[in-house]
């Protein structure tokens, strides 16, 4: 077996590249070669005669583009999208792409209905489908009888009061099997709705036919007065089409199940009629020491005390029980008045209720631990609760008690502790039913009347905006440059250049007499060293020449420098001061040697 050589690898890469480029070119050619097809669309329905509960299938086929179908113009039907599919067909080198949009149309009424021309848009292209006329018969036109599936809504129609609980029952009566059933709750606008458990089903015999009755029950409580409407409940399901079963192929009927895909079905959408009830506002509550508790229904109130005789300092339990049918679970603790000398400890209320189609039924108990702090016989109550009875249409005052508690002398060491205010209810004050704030008027808000309305909105213009953005950047860059410069340590050359200048300044100040010549000599040497970029103190004439030659100073300038140094040595060691021309010559030489270097 041979090994793969670099040449083989290159060949593979080259071939792959060629194959890819060829495929891309062919694809492009194919795309360009296909002539552009104009956008066309057509609408198809599965039938043109249906019943009021039948679902019509609509298909819109689009060719020549992706197309977007606008179904908003279909006013006679409720439209539900059911997806899209696409296919490609090649005939005699012509490639056609077709997209199908599917919809379910549910007729809104009987009679002659129309699916209007539907606009289909693809970019700049626009086309329309042809209109379709559909007849929706009052009697079922489908081979399936309407009575096989019936939906009903059951609700009391008598006027109600706000807060009065009533039951709403949605019922499906089916004589045939239903598949893929889905249920849409009605709109309970204006009510609070509590669903009572899961749907309950049972079978009955109606007109000789066995039917399955399925019920969903709600407990409704109207929250406002007026005419309130419970919208339709909607059941969508699929029903087997009768008479399509082939007994010869399946004599046992074992495989006549949709699971096996052998039972044709038809889709149905069934709605209940909307139900409207009049809800009356509660009359004005009676005035008195006890306010309306917010309870609507039929109730009774009882009170008990156990034990009725205690020693001072021992506790007795007062129990107030509110029982009945209505919003008993919303009851607050009844107000209780007790004489002085009692300590009161309220307990959590106990609720024992169940929700029924007629309302919430049960009992709510309020318990208090009472501790008399002195001996005596004490009267507790009577206890009163004001409720509203919708059957009588009037308020009722429920009364329980009074009860007598006898306290014998006993351990009253804690009697000095003042009693808590008796009758601390679960909530401070009586329970007041809250209700939604209703809108009573519609209008726009007032003008802006201040003269600031004439003040224009100040929006930064683009140039000013850009400048405002750039300014901090510019300042930061400058700041950074300054701080960088300050942090840098001077180089040896810079130090020597600074020394040369400082020495020159000193010579100017003291003159050439005395040590001035030495200072000037050092300044010239420092300038030479600065030019070389190194530090030092003394240089011979040859070293000066070498340094200056290596740094590119012209020959005549080098000679000038060496000559000056020689003259300065003579002045230093010869005892002469030298002339001012030496100082002038020294300044010029230093300037030439430094060549503009900054210290």
């Amino acid at each position: 077996m041979g090994q793969t050589t670099p040449e083989d690898t290159k060949a593979v890469f080259r071939n792959t590249l060629h194959a890819g480029m060829t495929a891309a070119a062919l694809s492009l050619l194919l795309v360009w070669a296909v002539p552009a097809v104009a956008l066309t669309a057509r609408a198809l329905v599965d039938r043109t005669r249906v019943g009021p509960n039948d679902v019509l299938g609509l298909t819109v086929e689009v060719e020549g583009g992706d197309g977007t179908v606008d179904t908003s113009g279909i006013l006679d039907f409720d439209v539900q999208g059911r997806g899209r599919s696409s296919s490609v067909q090649i005939v005699n080198t012509h490639m056609t792409r077709r997209i199908r949009y599917q919809y379910a149309l549910i007729p809104k009424r009987t009679g002659t209905l129309t699916v209007p021309p539907l606009p289909v848009v693809d970019g700049q292209d626009l086309t329309h489908t042809d209109p379709i006329v559909v007849t929706v018969a009052a009697a079922a036109a489908s081979p399936h009888r309407v009575q096989d599936v019936v939906v009903e809504a059951d609700m009391p129609r008598a006027p109600l009061y706000v807060g009065e609980q009533i039951g709403y029952t949605f019922r499906v009566v089916a004589a045939v099997k239903l598949y893929d059933a889905s249920y849409q709750e009605p709109d309970f606008d204006g009510f609070t709705a509590v669903k009572l458990g899961d749907p309950q089903a049972h079978t009955e015999v109606v007109n000789g036919r066995r039917v399955t009755v399925t019920e969903i029950v709600y407990l409704l409580t109207p929250q406002r007065s007026g005419s309130l409407t419970v919208g339709p409940a909607v059941l969508t399901c699929q029903v087997a089409v009768e008479g399509t079963r082939s007994r010869r192929r399946d004599p046992l009927g074992m495989f006549d199940d949709r699971f096996f895909g052998r039972v044709p079905v038809t889709e149905k959408v069934l709605r209940t009629r909307p139900t409207t009830v009049d809800v009356l506002a509660l009359p004005s509550a009676p005035k008195g020491p006890v306010r309306f508790s917010g309870l609507v229904g039929t109730f009774s109130l009882s009170a008990s005390l156990h034990p009725a005789t205690v020693s001072a300092g021992e506790s007795a339990t007062l129990t107030l029980s509110l029982e009945g049918l209505g919003n008993v679970d919303e009851a607050g603790a009844p107000p209780v008045a007790a004489p002085d000398g009692f300590k009161v400890y309220p307990d959590h209320p106990e609720t024992d209720t169940r929700v029924t189609p007629e309302g919430t039924r049960g009992t709510k108990r309020f318990k208090y631990a009472l501790v008399p702090t002195r001996a005596g016989a004490f009267e507790l109550g009577p206890f009163r609760v004001v409720t509203f009875d919708p059957e009588q249409g009037a308020y009722r005052t429920l009364t329980a008690g009074p009860l007598t508690l006898t306290a014998s002398p006993g351990n009253t060491s804690t009697a000095a502790v003042p009693a808590l205010p008796m009758g601390v209810p679960e909530e401070p004050g009586p329970v007041v039913r809250k209700r939604a704030v209703e809108t009573t008027g519609h209008d726009i808000l007032d003008l802006h009347r201040g003269l600031d309305a004439l003040t224009p909105v100040r929006t930064p213009e683009t140039a000013g905006f850009a400048f405002a953005l750039a300014l901090p950047v510019i300042l930061f860059v400058g700041f950074r440059w300054i701080t960088t410069r300050r942090r840098q340590k001077p180089t040896p050359g810079e130090r020597m250049a600074r020394r040369a200048r400082d020495l020159l300044a000193e010579v100017r100040r003291v003159g050439l007499a005395g040590k001035g010549a030495s200072l000037l000599h050092r300044a010239v040497v420092s300038a030479v060293l600065a030019r070389s970029g190194r530090e030092g103190e003394a240089l011979t004439y040859d070293e000066v020449r070498d340094e200056l030659r290596n740094t590119g100073l012209p020959v005549d300038a080098i000679g000038r420098v060496v000559d000056l140094l020689s003259r300065l040595d003579a002045a230093r060691y010869g005892g002469g001061a030298g002339g001012t021309d030496l100082l002038t010559e020294g300044e010029q030489v230093v300037k030439v040697v430094l060549g503009g270097r900054k210290s």
Binding site: V69, D70, P119, H448, R458, P460, F465, F476
Partner: protein, 253 residues
């Protein structure tokens, strides 16, 4: 100096007390007309001020309210929308505009997902001016934090610079997005009670659909006295030019 540079052009410089008081008088007259229910007179007064001066959200709001009270729903929504672009968070404006939109006949249709609005979902909270000012301040704070960090190289200043830098980038990107949107803003409002949208440039062509006052459309292009508008993905056509007015551009007299 910065404020002068950032000031909006077109702000009418005070040319003298006569000019200022004339605008004030005109404004107060318009308010008085509104109070005595002369809404057409109030609208005319406010509109003269709006077209003659620099943009003012409150003035546009008053003009929209006058038109609405006068029953001209299309122009009311037009001027409310113009005010909304200047002051997107004005609660009174939001309320009145919502009120006016409830009176429109045509149901708005979904124009599809707009990625810009999704990515910059916060951009509608601030007006253009406030957004730019915020970007300028954040940018200055960022570079200031960097400068302080250079003097005192501590992690806290690095973190602060990072946070402010991120905020600055976000604000600048939002400003850029808003500028892009404004540049391509072709939104317009139907100002006539009803307009037939047709397939072509003349009244002889097929009527495709009807639009009513207050409907918001996109203005595609103009040819002669006709404008091509787009109401939704499936509804495009031609209308008389005078039936729609663009929101962004306030025509000067």
């Amino acid at each position: 100096m910065l404020a002068l540079l950032l000031g909006a052009p077109g702000s009418a410089p005070a040319r003298g007390s006569d000019t200022v008081s004339a605008r004030t008088r005109a404004f107060l007259d318009a308010v008085a007309a509104y109070d005595r229910d002369a809404y057409d007179e109030a609208a005319a007064g406010f509109e003269r001020l709006a077209r003659a001066g620099a943009p003012s959200a409150k003035l546009y709001y008053d003009l929209g309210s006058s038109y609405l009270k006068n029953g001209n729903l299309g122009r009311a929504i037009l001027w409310y929308e113009r005010a909304r672009r200047l002051a997107p968070r004005d609660p009174d404006l939001a309320y009145n505009l919502a009120y006016a939109r409830k009176l429109t006949v045509d149901r708005a249709e979904d124009g599809g997902l707009r990625w810009g609005e999704l990515l910059f979902f916060w951009s509608a909270v601030l007006g253009d001016g406030a957004l730019r000012w915020a970007a300028v301040v954040a940018n200055a704070l960022f570079w200031g934090a960097l400068a302080v960090r250079r003097l005192r190289p501590r992690r806290g200043w690095s973190y602060a610079a990072s946070v402010v830098g991120g905020l600055t980038l976000l604000l600048l990107a939002t400003v850029g997005y808003r500028a892009l949107v404004a540049r391509h803003d072709r939104a317009a409002v139907v100002v006539t009670p009803e307009v037939a949208v047709r397939a072509g440039l003349s009244d002889d062509t097929t009527e495709l659909f009807l639009l009513h006052a207050g409907a918001t459309v996109d203005l595609d292009r103009i040819e002669g006295d006709r404008a091509r508008i787009r109401f939704s993905r499936g509804k495009i056509g031609w209308v008389p030019r005078g039936a729609v007015q663009t929101i962004r551009k306030v025509e000067q007299p």
